[in-house]
Symmetry: C2
Subunit: 298 residues, 2 copies
């Protein structure tokens, strides 16, 4: 069988990770804080495209617990990897970091017709689209939940029984919702400046209507507040939010998450950080707190 895009050697018919180990191409690696920071590529059966993700493997033999980091709008696997400064603490704690891309990409992957940053490429929203033309490739929920973990398990010294998930903005919401929908998958969940309720903000309404169609009933399964309202629970939840975030009131609306958690008895630690905005300077400032919090739960 010939590799469709020259990044495969074998095993692509088992991309979900069962059976033959799916092939992984090492795009680049660098030593970082005594560990290895790498970028890897593979053919995704779920998205039907080449996909990239970044992994930090700490020094030592492992097996190590694994934190999945989901990035926000416009990001790739590089943003958190290069800007958050997380490797220092992950090396100390013995924690693998996995940073996937935020959407499928490639010549045959459709993008927002206006080229907007908040839909299409770089904006997969961690859902499985059901509406054409998005449904064919935009399946980031299944990619993160089903395809990426066995690939990490097969190629890195990971203890997959000790998994954490976190993310930023769209990715913070993705982390919370994936954990809510899969209650035994992650031992700890946190988020930076997450969208609280996409059903009630412009970014989310555009994404959910575009990927899932106009029926709001279908949106409930990808809205953190609705999921909590419908009974889903997390073991605990740590959220940091910049008080000077320009997206705070219109898009992120952390009060909706606070209210949903309070109404449901869902534990939540929500730190509002005066002066901080939405950037990776904010994430970098508090990532150590989050990694230590995750490590204590793993």
């Amino acid at each position: 069988m010939t590799a469709p895009d020259n990044i495969l050697e074998n095993g692509q018919e088992n991309g979900s990770g069962t059976g033959t180990v799916a092939a992984l191409e090492t795009v680049a690696t660098a030593t970082c804080f005594g560990g290895t920071q790498g970028t890897y590529a593979h053919h995704s059966v779920v998205t039907g495209t080449a996909m990239r993700f970044a992994v930090f493997t700490p020094p030592g033999d492992g097996p190590f617990p694994v934190l999945f980091w989901l990035s926000g709008l416009t990001c790739t696997e590089d943003n958190f990897t290069q800007k958050a400064g997380a490797q220092r603490v992950a090396a100390e704690l013995g924690l693998i970091l996995v940073m996937p891309d935020t959407s499928p990409r490639g010549d045959d992957v459709p993008d927002d017709p206006d080229g907007a940053y908040d839909f299409g490429l770089g904006a997969g929203f961690y859902v499985d689209a059901t509406v054409a033309p998005w449904a064919r490739h935009y399946r980031m929920y299944s990619y993160i939940r089903d395809e990426l973990p066995p690939l990490v398990a097969a190629h890195f010294p990971a203890d997959m029984d000790r998994r954490a998930i976190s993310g930023h903005s769209m990715g913070g919401h993705g982390a919370i919702t994936i954990a809510l929908k899969n209650p035994h998958m992650f031992r700890s969940v946190s988020a930076f400046a997450p969208i609280a309720s996409p059903s009630r903000c412009p970014w989310g309404q555009k994404a959910l209507s575009g990927y899932l169609g106009p029926d709001r009933a279908a949106w409930r399964g990808h809205d953190a507040c609705a999921l909590i309202g419908d009974g889903a629970r997390l073991p605990d939840l740590l959220v940091d939010q910049g008080a000077a975030d320009p997206f705070l009131d219109e898009q992120l609306q952390p009060h909706l998450l606070r209210e949903a958690c309070a109404d449901a008895g869902q534990p939540l630690t929500l730190n509002l950080r005066p002066g901080y905005d939405h950037s990776y300077f904010f994430v970098a400032s508090f990532i150590e707190d989050h990694l230590r919090w995750h490590a204590a739960h793993l």
Copy 2:
């Protein structure tokens, strides 16, 4: 007087910082580790262009000592700012970080005729060019030495009697040479993967011949090893170098710096770091060591 490029309000006739305070435009700021990470723009009298630089100001009132960071080929003021993770330690130590761009930029600034990364834009080499067409704008030595410090002194809570300088690659060499040529300006000097002797490597030979002309006598004033050989001294010098750096043998040649320092009795701590390459993952891994070393000298 009308601002030529809309970034000035006043004072541009005194851009070197004497007399009227030169105007500074705040392009963007973000809170970071309790301090402020900003990008600033001004009209440079020295380069005859708009110039940008980044500054991290730690929390508190100051005055704070100042570390100037000179970046390498292809970089802008953003690379170290976003990728080195230096703000965490600078906030703790109470250290201002100043990150200038690596060349003049603008529509009338000439670039390498082949668009190569190692000459022209992003590759000013911290020299004052004497050869047309470079001599008009490519004056990064005077920009860093004469124009930037008074601008920092005027607009930030800086104690300019306590100055340090460091940099990476081309910028590591720039830091060493500017300090060698101005022995009372900096209390401490360090570098990551510096070019040791541009007169003897392809990057340096291209830059020095292009900016200064073919007469190698003119190059000696911008070659760290030649300057040391000619009697210039630093109070001390800390260098970190990745042993897996792909530019080690052909371009950087740290053994030349070691030999020049040994021959001259110049103190040098040269740490060769197994496994590390030339990237900011290397810089990030050891920047804390350097900042603490500088703080101890300041």
